[in-house]
């Protein structure tokens, strides 16, 4: 059940963020990603991160979803911070001296900065997924210029990925009932024992893809190069305001960085 948390995290509530046009949210996530690379002041980044968490909580997300997303990124960041001193041992004071592993305070601070950046970027994309239904997300990408084929592939992936992961569990159960033990034995044996799980997975995926493409074609997919959209997305005044503000802030930061070397 926790597996589906990745793609199926839409929060079925109404919040200000829910009402923002998907295109704006996509652009925000992209701008945020780019912006984070321009920001190197740890305090500014932490403030930004806290601000983003406040936005996330305003969506009404439940604790379970939030913590599983949080831990997903946290695991990655922790590993990063642990591994960092292998490659960066500049600065004083030095905390440990173990041959090639020399963590120093400045280096750890640099590692932390990168970790916070990753969290901030992830927060931007998380906000997008929490407040945008799959269909709207796809419409957003297509209206921003992606081809419709990409859009529908994305729709299908978002729809079927949770199913797919669930199917793998069902396959494990079915094979366990025939005596297949996937948790015992050495690494080689365990890898071999995954074959009776992987092959059916792929077979099912291929059959599903074939069936789905026939179904889509039967419903006229590709029949007319010009498509109409029934439930479409529309920009409102508030969306334009947000867009303009975002562009303004982003440009300001970048400009300050290049002009004055301001300590952002």
């Amino acid at each position: 059940m926790a597996r589906t948390a990745l793609v199926d995290i839409f929060v079925p509530k109404q919040s200000p963020l829910h009402r923002v046009d998907p295109r704006i949210k996509i652009i925000s996530a992209i701008l945020l990603t780019v912006l984070c690379f321009f920001l190197s002041n740890l305090l500014v980044l932490i403030a930004l991160l806290l601000f983003l968490q406040a936005l996330i909580w305003s969506t009404g997300v439940n604790l379970r979803t939030y913590s599983s997303s949080f831990w997903l990124v946290a695991r990655f960041s922790i590993i990063l911070m642990i591994v960092w001193p292998f490659f960066d041992h500049l600065g004083e004071p030095v905390l440990l001296d173990l041959w090639i592993y020399k963590p120093t305070v400045p280096a750890l601070l640099r590692a932390l900065t990168v970790a916070i950046r990753i969290f901030a970027i992830a927060s931007g994309w998380l906000m997008l997924l929490l407040t945008t239904k799959h269909g709207q997300l796809v419409r957003g990408f297509v209206k921003l210029g992606c081809p419709y084929d990409f859009g529908i592939s994305l729709s299908i992936a978002l729809r079927y990925l949770p199913n797919f992961l669930g199917t793998i569990d069902q396959i494990k159960e079915a094979q366990a009932s025939r005596g297949l033990d996937t948790s015992k034995g050495d690494l080689v044996k365990r890898a071999r024992n995954m074959i009776p799980v992987l092959i059916p997975t792929f077979a099912i995926a291929f059959r599903a893809i074939e069936g789905l493409s026939e179904a889509l074609l039967s419903r006229g997919y590709g029949a007319n190069p010009v498509r109409t959209y029934y439930r479409d997305i529309k920009m409102r005044a508030s969306d334009f305001t947000i867009l303009v503000s975002l562009v303004f802030i982003a440009s300001f930061v970048v400009m300050m960085k290049f002009l004055g070397g301001a300590s952002f």
Binding site: G135, S218, R219, A223, N224, R227, T228, Y230, R231
Partner: protein, 291 residues
Amino acid sequence: MLTMPTISINRASFRYRGQEGRALSEVSFDVQRGEFLALLGGDGAGKSTLCKALNGLIPHHIKGEFSGDVLLEGRNTRDLPVMEIVAKVGLALQDPETQLFTDSVEEEVAFAPENLGLPWAEIDYRVKRALESTGMSALAEKSPSALSGGQKQRLAIASAISMMPSILVLDEPLSMLDPRGRAGLLSLLDSLRKERGITVILTSNTAEEIAAHCDRIALLSQGKLISIGRPEEMLTSSKRLTDLSIEPPQLLELSHMLVDEKIIRSEQIFFDEKTGANRILSAIGGRSAQP
């Protein structure tokens, strides 16, 4: 005066690429406008292949060798652009689970007319009518994955009829449903025929339940059309049906047993409850008049 049949299949044959045998072999028959035709056959009889030949997937999208002709209102599917065929023939494939992919029931139903590039107002009209006809108006904003099996099947049909096709083809729509779901689906098809005059073709490997709703039955086996006619003509021998791997109606088998017991005569065999009750009662009634 003959009216042109809505579908005319003439010696249709098809072999899937990479397979040895033919999935369809010289199949020929006509279907009249507004008819309800059941295609019965066992595993591998060619039912699904025939469905796909009716909506143009064969020969336009599925690779293989196709010969013969399928005419829709006189026009050959080979010559018609897919866009036109798909607007005439709605197809609901076997497992609705693998056909639904949008966020809501109404978006799912709108998918087909959207693909045709129809104006918004037209799409809105068709979506609302399709939901009404299938009794799903109250579920318009629900997510397809939250629906029951029977509701998903209805949604698959609603998604097919939003094209306003004149012909609706359903491949094994009953196999995934429980008895209540099956009864509901069959009565839905009856009302669609009455309301819109749609020609309905469905496939199944069992004759139970279908016999009471369809106008004609076609028996298929190994890609060939064995026989086609009214239910009373086709459902006369349960052995013949089981030899073709088709499950006979339970009451047909019962009536054979009653003939063996000399309770009814061989001309009196039946496959539905009402006729059966009448014939048994009159046979017994006659007897009890004997001293």
